[in-house]
């Protein structure tokens, strides 16, 4: 009966944690769409959505309801199962990143120590990298299965864009890995909490490269070529309607939140509240403060994403490729070289 000699409570604990994280992420995402519209409006001297509920706070619910009520259309020439699989895959891939993000230290409850991280795997960074590159499958499958020229073009663009920027992103991550010496996100964050500076101080160029690549991976303006309205109509989700379209749009925002969380964890100290000694308060309260801090950092990053989106116009395709291959990759390589030189000089 070795199978039963297993910490079943841990399974339940992790399951609850997963459900909480996924639900919270979806809720935050719901309001990120609202936040996007509000930020866009405020940056353009408009009031933004303000009709549904107080300050328009029910607007995302109204948007969601509208999407659900729309007719579900599957084009006759579409590859049916792939067509359905596409949005689900996009959503799953973007939610999967949340597994390795350390949301806080640990909570002591019912005599158990619950870590606020679903899985502390020792290859956390690699996992993130792998999941990020999976995200392109949702777009590619959706675009291909639509059997529409625009969708296919857009899927091709998305794939080439993702591949181009993943290289620079990976190189930036290698530099980070060199300076931290660990692939586990938990260790990376813990190192930043305990006295050391945040990693962004050691890796400013790496952070910049990672940030730009994250923006490209999320298909956010100025890198939103896959859904360029003026040349590809609506890109890979052109044939989609109802909640399948909603999933694609939603996945973009989940991606944004997840990459914000990753960036906050890797470069900005994760759940570390600066100039505050966590050991002075009870561990549970410290953990909650940590979660709040991480959420605030995520919100700030998401705001930065939106701010950039409503400032900078879209790149042209050749500019995008130029930036990716001729600027980002050499820069990332130089960054790696500098990091290596620093490490050697410290030895």
């Amino acid at each position: 009966m070795t199978l039963l000699a297993f910490d079943w409570a841990m399974i339940i604990e992790k399951l609850i944690l997963i459900v909480i994280i996924v639900l919270t992420t979806l809720l935050i995402t719901l309001y990120t769409t609202f936040g996007e519209r509000k930020v866009a409006a405020i940056l353009q001297d408009r009031p933004g959505p303000n009709r549904a509920g107080p300050f328009g706070l029910l607007q995302p619910l109204a948007d969601g309801l509208k999407l659900i009520m729309k007719e579900e259309i599957i084009p006759t020439s579409a590859s049916k199962w792939l067509f359905i699989l596409g949005p689900g895959l996009a959503m799953t891939a973007s939610l999967m990143t949340s597994a390795v993000i350390p949301w806080g230290t640990e909570i002591h409850l019912f005599g158990r120590t619950i870590e606020l991280q679903v899985a502390d795997i020792n290859i956390g960074l690699l996992y993130v990298f792998a999941v990020v590159s999976m995200g392109v499958y949702g777009i590619m499958i959706g675009g291909w299965a639509s059997n529409n020229k625009f969708s296919l073009m857009s899927a091709l663009r998305a794939a080439s864009q993702a591949i181009s920027y993943e290289i620079a992103m990976g190189l930036a991550l290698i530099a980070l890995l060199m300076s931290t010496g660990s692939l586990s996100l938990k260790t990376i964050v813990a190192d930043q909490v305990t006295g050391n500076w945040w990693n962004v101080v050691y890796q400013p160029l790496g952070f910049l490269i990672f940030f730009i690549c994250a923006m490209a991976e999320c298909n956010r303006t100025p890198f939103d070529l896959p859904e360029a309205e003026n040349e590809l109509n609506f890109g890979y989700h052109q044939e989609y309607s109802s909640m399948k379209l909603g999933f694609y749009l939603f996945a973009e925002y989940v991606n944004m939140i997840m990459s914000s969380a990753i960036m906050a964890s890797m470069y900005f100290g994760g759940y570390d509240l600066p100039f505050f000694d966590e050991s002075t308060v009870a561990p549970n309260i410290a953990a909650i403060i940590g979660v709040g801090t991480l959420l605030i950092k995520i919100v700030l990053f998401v705001f930065l994403f939106m701010w950039i989106r409503w400032t900078i116009p879209r790149f042209r395709y050749d500019q995008l490729m130029n930036l990716g291959w001729k600027k980002m990759i050499p820069l990332a390589l130089i960054n790696m070289l500098i990091t290596g030189a620093f490490i050697l000089s410290k030895l």
Binding site: L43, Q44, D45, P47, W307, I308, T311, I312
Partner: protein, 178 residues
């Protein structure tokens, strides 16, 4: 070519410096511009709660006028219909019967008077053409409607409330229209 004015500014086509080619600085500059817009005053008029005032010469929805004794001014002469460039006005005349003197000012009156608000261009030529001070353009506009038929306003929609018998309603109508 000689410039017509000295207002034109020559486009700077000199090659970009290294700072300009880095883009980052210019991107940050642009982002600061958008950020500064967060604190600017919004010109938005929050419509149903807040209404922008019309100018004093605004030409809105028509009203059919009454005299001080509450009788209809319109004699169905048809000058407004003739003046109307959009041919929005139709009317049918009728003769005033004995005992109807308190209703109509003169011997002839409009039995039917319709204005199609979808055709009307609110030019105010009917107002200018009217010899009896019977038609005026007020300061409201035609509200939205679900059907085309709903935009054909008949006499009941256009006539202002009777001064004598319905003073409160008139005041209310004036208050709304003011």
């Amino acid at each position: 070519m000689q410039a017509l004015t000295n207002k034109s500014i020559a486009v700077n086509r000199s090659p970009m410096t290294i700072w300009e080619r880095l883009y980052l600085i210019n991107i940050i500059k642009g982002m600061l511009i958008t950020f500064s817009h967060m604190f600017k005053k919004q010109p938005t008029v929050r419509y149903p709660e807040q209404k922008r005032e019309f100018s004093p010469v605004f030409r809105g929805l028509h009203v059919l006028n009454r005299d001080e004794e509450g009788r209809e001014n319109c004699t169905a002469c048809g000058l407004c219909a003739v003046a109307c460039p959009a041919e929005a006005i139709t009317m049918e005349a009728a003769e005033r019967q004995v005992g109807e003197e308190h209703l109509y000012k003169e011997e002839k009156y409009a039995a039917k008077y319709e204005i199609n608000m979808l055709r009307c261009i609110f030019c105010g030529l009917c107002e200018e053409a009217c010899p009896k001070d019977a038609i005026y353009l007020s300061e409201t506009f035609a509200p939205a409607n679900y059907t085309r038929k709903g935009f054909i306003y008949d006499k009941n929609d256009l006539l202002i409330p009777n001064t004598l018998t319905n003073a409160t309603e008139l005041a209310k109508a004036k208050g709304v229209e003011a």
